[in-house]
């Protein structure tokens, strides 16, 4: 190695150091994901396919409404089909941070009653899917995890961050059902395209993949997703359609009244 090469290598390292230190931290990246523009409100249809290891399929159809209230949000999801879950509906008032637990209500048509349900056992699976109540939030409570940027990679021509989150306590691991999560995040749009989950014992549990990401009303939106449980062989496929952002949903959309009335079109 000649002197010139050594000088060039030295200069490269000197230049590279500030670049490395400018890389955001894991927490900063997750905050950017959380702050990503996802509209002030959203209406979308969902087709859900629950597929077990034998290939048996159960299909469901839902419509969901979401509205942001500052950093809090409210959402309501109606099951439209099949008939045995039709009119079941979930209302969530999602409060930012961990200081206040979310409020959740479930309408069960078989009882004709709205049931208050505990939002604390976030590791419980939602309606037979591979998503827990925590997973169906777009972004987890950032305060629950220690976030670390573990690297970068390029996938399908997109630069990605790899960010790992580890629940801050054993109680949280138990509550969430995970010992670790790893988010693969597109750098250009601050949106995750894959999430890997490890169970409480540290075994790889499942992964979520978001597909067909495109802009709707200027907002980056995943049109399909699938959560695959590696341990059980069960898979939940989601297909989103009919997205409408910023339609000015009224507050009364997110009420016990609407849970009981069910969704019969607009």
């Amino acid at each position: 190695m000649n002197k010139l090469t050594l000088m060039m290598l030295g200069a490269t390292l000197l230049l590279a150091a500030p670049v490395c230190s400018a890389e955001p931290t894991g927490l900063q990246i997750m905050q950017m994901v959380d702050a990503r523009d996802d509209g002030d409100d959203l209406i979308q249809h969902m087709q859900q396919r629950l597929i077990d290891r034998r290939g048996d399929v159960r299909a469901r159809e839902m419509i969901s409404f979401r509205k942001d209230y500052g950093r809090d949000s409210k959402s309501i999801t109606y099951f439209l089909a099949p008939s045995n879950v039709r009119d079941t509906a979930l209302l969530t008032w999602d409060y930012d941070g961990v200081a206040k637990e979310d409020d959740q209500w479930l309408y069960l048509p078989a009882l004709k009653k709205v049931r208050r349900i505990s939002a604390s056992d976030r590791g419980d699976y939602f309606m037979g899917t591979d998503f827990t109540f925590e997973d169906i939030k777009q972004v987890p409570e950032l305060e629950d995890y220690n976030w670390s940027l573990i690297g970068s990679e390029t996938v399908d021509g997109h630069d990605m961050w790899l960010v790992e989150g580890e629940p801050k306590s054993d109680d949280l691991k138990k509550n969430l059902g995970y010992s670790k999560t790893r988010y693969t995040i597109r750098k250009d749009i601050n949106m995750y395209v894959r999430v890997d989950f490890w169970d409480r014992k540290g075994q790889e549990l499942k992964h979520l993949v978001s597909d067909e990401i495109k802009q709707i009303d200027g907002i980056w939106t995943a049109m399909r997703g699938s959560m695959t449980n590696i341990q059980s062989g069960h898979r939940t496929e989601l297909e989103f359609s009919g997205q409408r952002y910023n339609t000015g949903l009224s507050d009364s959309t997110f009420s016990e009244r609407m849970l009981k009335r069910g969704y019969r079109g607009e």
């Binding site: 637990e101 409020d103 208050r116």
Partner: protein
């Protein structure tokens, strides 16, 4: 029954003619329910094939129609040999076929209110399995309280206005109900296997039950109610008032030499109460309070004047729902207390129930085991209801279960010889 059928058809026709361009949908279920008695004389209890239809229409501009018709044929009334000797033709007919409209109402949804008119099931309260504030619709008790309330509630023709207001930054709901179609609970026929035990008569005295006047579709019998609901500081709260008829009758006695005549007497009462629920971590706390003012009660006398009376009863229920690792555990405690009790009243001053429900699920909610236990702590009788449901597909679900009764008498113990296992196979569409 005839009047109801005519009203149901009229409502359907009105709905149909009101908007021929309406979007109609039909959902429902086909279901087989088979039950077999394990204790007492072992025999087939039922072999029902049910059709449950839920027609709905959307007329636009906020107008909708919602209905439900339930019918079945129970082959056990013809197949089970012992029914030929043990049951009268009238009882067999009562159980053999069933066809009733459960709901048939028009709904108008405005910006700030919902208005429903027609045959409805109106459900109040926060308790499961036992009813305290859920008193508006009487029950069809042909199978004691084993049928789902959705199936056993008798739909009443009524008008209901729910008005929603933003007061002080909180959403408040005010509900107003008028029910011209006052009706009592339908008890299982005397002599049937689910009939309530009659009061004990002195030795050598025969007992006869004669018909009594029931509340019905008369202006003087009309029922009315109001409720307020809101979420305040995280608490789901309601206040309720209902002026109606006690669903079950008091039994007026008249003793003549060798004969005790029982006459059902229906009495009006005011129910004033409320409900609450809130979540605290893994726990959901819920409850109801209800004061029944002027509730009809049975007394120990054997004359018309001394065998029935009225008093105020205080009723309360508290429940917990605990959820952890996909298990749900729900204990409930019910108490009924008579502040003005004296020893002429034919029930304890304090009585009530405890219940416990434990459930979980496996295979992504395909397999759902559940067990419910109810214990009457006043008379020591109990009921245990284990159940296992398996979802073969989106449309087909099978259930296996049992209804087991304990105690020599009392609310549940009177059916000690009716322990049964059952299977259900349901196709939903």
């Amino acid at each position: 029954m005839k009047r109801l059928s005519i009203l149901t058809i009229a409502a359907l026709l009105l709905s149909t003619s009101a908007a021929s361009a309406a979007e109609w949908t039909m959902h429902g279920a086909l279901k087989n329910e088979t039950a077999y008695f394990l204790s007492g004389e072992k025999r087939l209890d039922k072999l029902q094939n049910r059709l449950d239809l839920k027609p709905e229409a959307s007329f636009g501009h906020g107008w909708e129609f919602r209905g439900r018709v339930l019918g079945w044929y129970d082959a056990a009334m013809d197949i089970e040999q012992t029914n030929a000797t043990d049951l009268t033709p009238a009882i067999k007919q009562h159980y053999r076929t069933y066809l009733q409209s459960k709901e048939a109402y028009l709904l108008y949804g405005g910006d700030m209110f919902d208005f429903r008119m027609g045959q409805q099931q109106i459900v109040w309260g926060k308790t499961d399995g036992l009813r305290m504030l859920d008193i508006i619709n009487p029950l069809d008790m042909r199978e004691f309280m084993l049928d789902d309330f959705l199936d056993s509630r008798i739909g009443l023709w009524s008008a209901r206005l729910n008005w929603y207001a933003d007061i002080g930054g909180s959403q408040h709901e005010f509900e107003f109900i008028v029910i011209p179609d006052a009706r009592p609970m339908q008890l299982a026929p005397t002599g049937s296997r689910w009939a309530f035990a009659q009061p004990a008569a002195p030795a050598g005295v025969a007992v006869t039950l004669q018909g009594g006047g029931e509340p019905s579709w008369r202006p003087a019998d009309m029922e009315a109610g109001m409720a307020w609901r809101s979420n305040l500081d995280g608490w789901d709260l309601s206040l309720n008032w209902f002026y109606g008829w006690k669903d079950s009758p008091s039994l007026q006695k008249s003793l003549t030499p060798g004969l005790l005549t029982l006459t059902p007497v229906y009495q009006r009462m005011n129910t004033v109460g409320g409900s609450f629920s809130n979540a605290f971590g893994s726990l959901v706390l819920r409850g109801e309070l209800a004061a029944n003012i002027g509730e009809g009660i049975n007394k120990n006398g054997v004359t018309p004047a001394t065998s029935i009376g009225r008093t105020t009863t205080m009723n309360a229920a508290f429940g917990l729902d605990y959820t952890e690792n996909n298990w749900r555990i729900s204990p409930q405690f019910f108490i009924r207390y008579l502040p003005g009790w004296d020893n002429t009243i034919a029930e304890d001053q304090a009585s009530g129930f405890v219940s416990l429900m434990i459930s979980t699920d496996y295979l992504n909610e395909k397999l759902k085991p559940e067990i419910i236990g109810l214990y009457d702590w006043a008379d020591g009788s109990w009921m245990l209801r284990p159940k296992l449901a398996y979802e073969f597909s989106d449309q087909i679900t099978a259930r296996l279960g049992g209804d087991i009764f304990g105690g020599s008498n009392g609310f549940f113990g009177q059916f000690d010889k009716n322990d049964r296992i059952y299977s259900e196979l349901e196709y939903t569409f």
